[in-house]
C-alpha cells in the first residue's frame, strides 16, 4: 500500500496545488513542496529500515492487485534496492525542481505545479511498476506533462523542442509497446502462461528467433530515453528550452528511467540476446562518451553545454550496463545517482545565472565569481564533478565502469578513458567562460538567496558524500544485480 502512496502523493499534491493556485500561489508552491518532501521522508525511512536489516536481497515492499486477469494484467508494484535509490533521488530532485521554480515561474503556476507533480508520479510509477502493462502506462504518463512543461513554460524555442522531445520518446515507446505485446504472445506460446507480470516472465526468459527482436524493441525505447548515441539529438533542444525545474527533472530523472529500464527489463528478460548485442552497445556507449564530450566544448549556450554533458555521462552508464560484470554495473548505478545530483545542480546554477543576467550566451557571461562568489564556487564544484574528479560521486561511478569494462573489452575501456581528457576540456571551458576571467559586461548581480544556497549546499554535500562514501549505494543496489545473473544463468550465458 505504501508504494501506491508514494506514487499518489505527488499527484494528489499536484491537484491540490492546482486548486490552491487560483487563490494563493504561495500556498500552492508550499503544497507541492510538501508533497515531494513527504515522499522523501517515506522513501528515506524505508531505506533506513532496509539498512538496519542489513540489506537483505528480498523485495523491500510489494503490492499486487489483479487488474485485468483475462489478459494477465495486474497492478503489481514492487520496490527493491535499485528502485528505492531511484525513488529517493526522484523525491529529492522533485523538491529541488519545485524550489527552483519559486521565482522563475510566474504565470499559470497552478498548471505548472500540476504538470510537475504528475510528471513525478509517472516517474515514480516507472520505477516501481512490476507489470509490463503498468510499466508502459507510467512510461507514457511521463511524457505528456513533460511536453506541457517544456512547451508552455519553456524558453524561446520551446514548442519545437517540446514536439521533438515528444515525437522521439513516444515513437520509441511504441517500439517497446510492440515488443511488450510480442513478448506476451511469445512467452505465452512457449510456456502456456499469457501474462504481463514481470516476475513470471523473468522466471522463464525467452529464447529463440524472436528474442533478439523483442529485446531490440525494448532497447530502442530505453536507448532513446537514455539517450544513447545516435538517438541523442532530442536532448540538447529539450534541456535547453525547458524551464529550470523541467531541465532538472529531465536530466536528473527521466534519463535515468532509460537506464533503469535497461537494467530491470531489457537485460534480465533477454539475457542471451543482450549478451549477443553487448558489443554493439559497448561501441554505442563509447561513441556517446566521446561524441558528447567533444560536442560540449563547442557550444555557445551555457545550458546547451550542460545538456550535452549528459550525453557523455550516460554513455558511461550504457557502457557499465552492457559490460556484463557487477563491477561495471555498480559503477553505472553510482553514476546514475551522482549524475542526477551533479547535473541537476548545474542546471539549477544555469537557472540562477539566467534569472540574474537574462542570458545564457557565453559571449556575455564571464567573471561572475567576483560578483556572486557562491555561484562561482558551486559552478566549479559541480563542473569538477562532471569531469570526474576523485572524491566526488561521478568519479567513483565512471572509474568502476571503466574498470569493469576493461575486464571484458580493454579496447573499449581504453578509448572511453579518453573521455576523461575531453571532459576536462569542456568542464574547464564551462567554468572559464562563466565564472572566471574578467567581468566584461560589468555584471553586478544579487547574491544567492537562502533558498538557493540551501539547494546547492545540499546537493554539494551529497555529491561529496557519494564520492567519499559510496558504499551504502553499492550495498543497496547489490541485490538487483543478482537478478540479472540469475536469469542469465537460466539461459546458460554469462558466468
Amino acid at each position: 500500500m505504501i508504494l501506491t502512496w508514494i506514487i499518489a502523493i505527488p499527484a494528489i499534491g499536484g491537484v491540490l496545488a492546482w486548486i490552491a493556485a487560483q487563490r494563493n500561489v504561495r500556498a500552492a508552491r508550499w503544497i507541492a513542496l510538501a508533497a515531494c518532501f513527504f515522499d522523501l521522508v517515506i522513501s528515506v525511512s524505508l531505506w533506513i529500515s532496509h539498512r538496519s536489516l542489513g540489506f537483505p536481497g528480498t523485495l523491500i515492499r510489494e503490492q499486487i492487485v489483479p487488474w485485468v486477469p483475462r489478459f494477465g494484467v495486474s497492478y503489481h508494484l514492487a520496490m527493491d534496492g535499485l528502485s528505492l535509490l531511484l525513488v529517493i533521488l526522484t523525491a529529492l530532485l522533485g523538491i529541488m525542481a519545485v524550489a527552483s521554480s519559486w521565482k522563475e515561474i510566474t504565470e499559470r503556476v497552478g498548471g505548472f505545479l500540476l504538470s510537475l507533480m504528475l510528471l513525478l508520479s509517472g516517474i515514480l510509477g516507472v520505477f516501481l511498476a512490476y507489470d509490463l502493462f503498468l510499466f508502459y502506462f507510467f512510461w507514457e504518463l511521463m511524457l505528456i506533462p513533460m511536453y506541457f512543461v517544456i512547451g508552455i513554460w519553456g524558453h524561446e524555442n520551446r514548442v519545437q523542442a517540446a514536439i521533438k522531445f515528444f515525437l522521439f520518446t513516444f515513437i520509441s515507446g511504441l517500439f517497446m509497446l510492440v515488443a511488450i505485446i510480442g513478448l506476451y504472445f511469445v512467452h505465452g506460446r512457449a510456456t502456456g502462461v499469457y501474462t504481463f507480470d514481470y516476475p513470471t516472465l523473468l522466471a522463464s526468459p525467452v529464447t529463440g528467433r524472436y528474442a533478439s527482436w523483442l529485446m531490440l524493441g525494448f532497447f530502442i525505447a530505453f536507448a532513446v530515453k537514455l539517450p544513447s548515441f545516435p538517438f541523442h539529438t532530442w536532448l540538447p533542444d529539450a534541456h535547453t528550452e525547458a524551464p529550470t525545474a523541467g531541465s532538472v527533472i529531465l536530466a536528473g530523472l527521466m534519463l535515468k528511467t532509460g537506464a533503469y529500464g535497461l537494467i530491470r527489463f531489457a537485460l534480465p528478460l533477454f539475457p542471451g540476446a543482450s549478451a549477443a548485442f553487448a558489443p554493439i552497445a559497448l561501441v554505442l556507449g563509447v561513441a556517446g562518451i566521446i561524441y558528447g564530450a567533444v560536442l560540449t566544448s563547442a557550444q555557445r549556450d551555457f545550458k546547451r553545454m550542460v545538456a550535452y554533458t549528459s550525453v557523455s555521462h550516460m554513455g558511461f552508464v550504457l557502457l557499465g550496463i552492457y559490460a556484463g560484470n557487477e563491477l561495471a554495473l555498480q559503477g553505472a548505478v553510482l553514476e546514475i545517482i551522482s549524475h542526477g545530483i551533479s547535473t541537476g545542480a548545474l542546471f539549477l546554477l544555469v537557472g540562477m545565472v539566467q534569472e540574474r543576467t537574462g542570458t545564457r550566451d557565453l559571449k556575455h557571461l564571464g567573471g561572475l565569481w567576483a560578483t556572486v562568489p557562491r555561484i562561482g564556487g558551486f559552478t566549479l564544484l559541480f563542473a569538477l564533478a562532471a569531469l570526474g574528479l576523485p572524491g566526488l560521486g561521478n568519479f567513483a561511478g565512471e572509474f568502476l565502469v571503466l574498470l569493469g569494462t576493461f575486464q571484458v573489452n580493454p579496447a573499449a575501456s581504453a578509448v572511453a578513458s579518453l573521455g576523461f581528457i575531453f571532459s576536462v576540456i569542456y568542464a574547464l571551458r564551462l567554468v572559464q567562460k562563466t565564472v572566471l576571467g574578467p567581468n566584461k559586461e560589468n555584471w553586478s548581480l544579487p547574491k544567492l538567496s537562502i533558498r538557493e544556497t540551501t539547494m546547492l549546499g545540499i546537493l554539494a554535500a551529497l555529491i561529496i558524500w557519494l564520492g567519499l562514501y559510496p558504499q551504502p549505494i553499492f550495498d543497496t543496489a547489490r541485490a538487483s544485480q543478482s537478478v540479472i545473473r540469475q536469469s542469465a544463468s537460466k539461459v546458460g550465458d554469462l558466468p
Binding site: P230, V294, S297, N325, P410, A414, F420, G437
Partner: protein, 627 residues
C-alpha cells in the same frame, strides 16, 4: 600511531574547509594563522610519527571501507613506511615554511583566505597521495593535487591569461592521469586488487619478466608520472604555470606536486623493474628533458620561468636516477631539490616583490647590496642547484645520480654524458641569473623590503640547502649514509655493473662533475663580464633563430597547438550543431514533403473526387471479376 597519521592528513583539509566557509568573515591575520597553524601542526605531528616510526616500523592504517564491490576491495587507508615517511616529512616541513612566507607576502591580496584554503587543500591531497595504501586512494590524491594546482595557478582569475595557464596545466596533466588510470585497470586485471603492497610483493609471480603486460603497465605509470612531473612530452604546462603567485610555484611546482611522478615510480619500483624497456625509457626521457630544459633555461628572461625550466631539468635528473635503478638517489635528490628550489623561488619572490612586481632579470641588477638576505639565500640556492662541490646539499645528491648513471647495471656512457653536460648547463643558467640580478647596475629601484616571516623561511631553507646533503656521502668521501640505510627497507639497491664500479672511477667522476659545475659558473661569469660581446653574438641571424627556438621551449607550444589544439577546436566547432541531427530533421523534412505533395490530391473539386471514386470502383471490380 594510526590516529596520528590520519590527523596529519585531515588537519589540512579541516583548515581548508574552515577557510573556505568562514574565510570571508574573518580578519586576514586570523586566516593566515589558521592556515599556517594547520600545516605547522601537521609538521609537528609528523615529527612525532617519525620518532614512533623508527621504533615500531611500517604501519597500515585503514579508516573505512571506501569501495567494496564484487572484486574490488578498496579501503580508505594509509600506509606508512620509510619512503612515505620521508615524503611526509619533507612535504610538511617545506609547506610549513612556504605558508609562513606566503602569510606575509600575500597579505595585500584580495582573496587571502581563498588562497590559503586552496593551499591547505593542496597539502591535504599531497599527504593522501604519498601515504596512500592503495592505488585508488593514490589516484584521489593525485587528481586532488592537480585540482589545487589549477585553482592556485588561476588564483588571479580576473586575468584570462592566468586562467588559460591553469587550464593548460590541468588538461595536460589529465592526459597523464588517463594513462595512469589505464595502468590501474591493467594492474587490477592482473592482480585482482589495487593494494600497493600486495601488488609489489606479488609482481614477480604474476607478471612475466620483460613481458608485454609489464611493459604496458610500466608505460602507463610512466605516462602518469611525466604528466605530473612535466617531463617530455607533457612538459609544456610548467613554464606557463608560473602565472600563479610565487609561493604556489615554490610549493607545488618545485617541491611537491611535480615530484609526485617521481614518488609514484619509486613506490611502484618493483613493477618498473619488471620491464627493462619501460625503465630504460624513464632514463631516456629524463636525460632528454634535463638537456631540453637546461638549454631553454639559458635563454629565459622571466626569473620564474628560469626556475620552472630548472625544475623540469632537475626532475629529469630524478627520472634518470629511477631509470638506472638508483631509487634512493632519486629520493635524495628530491629532498635536496625541494629545499633549494623552494628556496630559490621564495627568494626570487622577495626580489620580485621588492621591485614592485618586476620579473624581467634584465631589468634587475645591483641587488647584492640592497637586498642582502635575498642575495645570500639566492646564492646558496643557486650553489646547491649547481652542485657546488662539498659545501652544498645539491652536490651530494646530484653526484649520487651522476655516479649511478655510469656505475649501475642499467647505466651507460650516454646517460653519464647527458648528466655531465646537464650539470655544466645548470651551473651556467643558475649563475647567469645570479649575476644579472644581483651584480651590475641597478635598473629598477627597490620599493619594499622583505618581512620577518619571509626572511625566516628563506634562511631556514638555506641552512637545509647546505646541510641536507651530509646524510648521504659517496663512498669516495667516507660512505656515511644514514639516508640510504633508512630507505633500504623499501627501495632496493641496484647492483653495479661489473668493471664500472670502484673507488677510482667514483673519484674520477666526482672530480669531473665538480669541475664542470665550476666551469659552468665561470661561463656565466664570462658571459656577464662580456655582456656586450655576448649580446652581439646573440643578435646575429643564427643567434636570433637559436635564441628564439630555445626561448620558446624548442617550439613545443606551437607544435602542440598545431597538432592537437587547433584540430580539436575545429572539429568541435564544425560539428557544433551535431550532424546526426540532420538525419532526424531530414525525417521531418521528408514528412513535410510528403504532406505537401499528398495534399495536392485534395483539390476541393467534386469532379476530381468523383473521378477518383470511379477509378477505384473500376479497379476493385476488375480485381474481383478477374480473380
Amino acid at each position: 600511531m594510526g590516529d596520528l597519521l590520519w590527523t596529519i592528513v585531515l588537519i589540512p583539509f579541516l583548515g581548508s574547509a574552515i577557510l573556505a566557509v568562514f574565510g570571508a568573515f574573518m580578519p586576514k591575520k586570523i586566516a593566515g594563522t589558521i592556515a599556517c597553524a594547520s600545516i605547522g601542526i601537521a609538521w609537528f605531528l609528523s615529527i612525532i610519527v617519525a620518532i614512533r616510526f623508527v621504533e615500531t616500523g611500517t604501519a597500515n592504517v585503514p579508516l573505512y571501507r571506501w569501495i567494496y564491490v564484487n572484486g574490488l576491495h578498496a579501503d580508505m587507508s594509509l600506509h606508512l613506511d620509510a619512503l612515505s615517511m620521508l615524503m611526509v616529512g619533507v612535504v610538511t616541513f617545506v609547506a610549513f615554511l612556504i605558508h609562513l612566507y606566503a602569510a606575509q607576502s600575500m597579505y595585500a591580496e584580495d582573496g587571502y583566505s581563498r588562497f590559503f584554503s586552496y593551499m591547505n587543500l593542496f597539502v591535504g591531497f599531497m599527504l593522501i597521495l604519498v601515504l596512500a595504501a592503495n592505488l585508488l586512494v593514490l589516484y584521489l590524491g593525485w587528481e586532488g593535487v592537480g585540482l589545487c594546482s589549477f585553482l592556485l595557478i588561476g588564483f588571479w582569475y580576473k586575468d584570462i591569461k592566468n586562467v588559460h595557464a591553469a587550464q593548460k596545466a590541468f588538461i595536460i596533466t589529465r592526459i597523464g592521469d588517463t594513462a595512469l588510470a589505464i595502468g590501474l585497470f591493467l594492474l587490477f586485471r592482473e592482480f585482482g586488487t589495487l593494494d600497493i603492497q600486495t601488488i609489489l610483493s606479488n609482481a614477480g609471480r604474476v607478471l612475466p619478466f620483460a613481458g608485454a603486460t609489464a611493459a604496458v603497465i610500466g608505460f602507463c605509470l610512466i605516462g602518469g608520472a611525466i604528466g605530473k612531473s612535466a617531463q617530455i612530452p607533457l612538459q609544456t604546462w610548467l613554464p606557463d604555470a608560473m602565472a600563479g603567485p610565487t609561493p604556489v610555484s615554490a610549493l607545488i611546482h618545485a617541491a611537491t606536486m611535480v615530484t609526485a611522478g617521481v614518488y609514484l615510480l619509486a613506490r611502484m619500483h618493483t613493477i618498473i623493474s619488471m620491464s627493462p624497456a619501460a625503465q630504460l625509457s624513464i632514463a631516456v626521457i629524463g636525460t632528454i628533458t634535463l638537456l631540453y630544459a637546461g638549454f631553454s633555461a639559458l635563454t629565459q628572461v622571466d626569473i620564474k620561468r628560469v626556475l620552472a625550466y630548472s625544475t623540469m631539468s632537475q626532475i629529469g635528473y630524478m627520472f634518470v636516477a629511477l631509470g638506472v635503478g638508483a631509487w634512493t638517489g632519486a629520493m635524495f635528490h628530491f629532498m635536496t631539490h625541494a629545499f633549494f628550489k623552494a628556496l630559490l623561488f621564495l627568494s626570487a619572490g622577495i626580489v620580485i616583490d621588492s621591485l614592485g612586481g618586476e620579473h624581467d632579470i634584465f631589468k634587475m641588477g645591483g641587488l647584492r647590496t640592497r637586498l642582502p638576505i635575498a642575495f645570500w639565500t639566492f646564492l646558496v640556492g643557486s650553489a646547491s642547484l649547481s652542485a657546488l662541490p662539498f659545501i652544498t646539499a645539491g652536490f651530494y645528491s646530484k653526484d649520487e645520480i651522476i655516479w649511478a648513471e655510469w656505475s649501475s647495471q642499467l647505466g651507460s656512457i650516454w646517460l653519464l654524458a647527458g648528466g655531465l653536460l646537464g650539470s655544466l648547463i645548470t651551473a651556467a643558467y643558475a649563475f647567469r641569473v645570479v649575476f644579472l640580478v644581483f651584480y651590475g647596475e641597478a635598473e629598477t629601484e627597490v620599493i619594499n623590503k622583505p618581512g620577518m616571516l619571509e626572511k625566516l623561511a628563506v634562511i631556514v631553507l638555506s641552512i637545509f640547502s647546505i646541510i641536507a646533503g651530509f646524510i648521504s656521502l659517496p663512498k669516495a668521501l667516507g660512505g656515511f649514509d644514514p639516508f640510504g640505510r633508512f630507505l633500504s627497507g623499501v627501495l632496493p639497491h641496484q647492483p653495479a655493473a661489473a668493471g664500472r664500479s670502484g673507488l677510482t672511477a667514483e673519484e674520477v667522476i666526482l672530480a669531473l662533475s665538480s669541475t664542470l659545475s665550476i666551469l659552468g659558473i665561470y661561463l656565466a661569469y664570462a658571459y656577464f663580464k662580456n655582456r656586450l660581446a655576448s649580446e652581439a653574438l646573440g643578435l646575429s641571424p643564427t643567434g636570433i633563430r637559436v635564441h628564439t627556438f630555445l626561448y620558446s621551449g624548442w617550439g613545443a607550444d606551437k607544435l602542440y597547438d598545431r597538432v592537437f589544439a587547433r584540430p580539436y577546436k575545429a572539429l568541435a566547432t564544425w560539428n557544433r550543431n551535431d550532424f546526426i541531427d540532420k538525419f532526424y530533421s531530414g525525417l521531418g523534412a521528408l514528412a513535410r514533403y510528403a504532406n505537401h505533395n499528398l495534399s495536392r490530391t485534395q483539390t476541393g473539386k467534386v469532379r476530381n473526387y468523383a473521378a477518383a471514386v470511379l477509378f477505384g470502383a473500376i479497379v476493385i471490380a476488375a480485381i474481383v471479376l478477374l480473380r
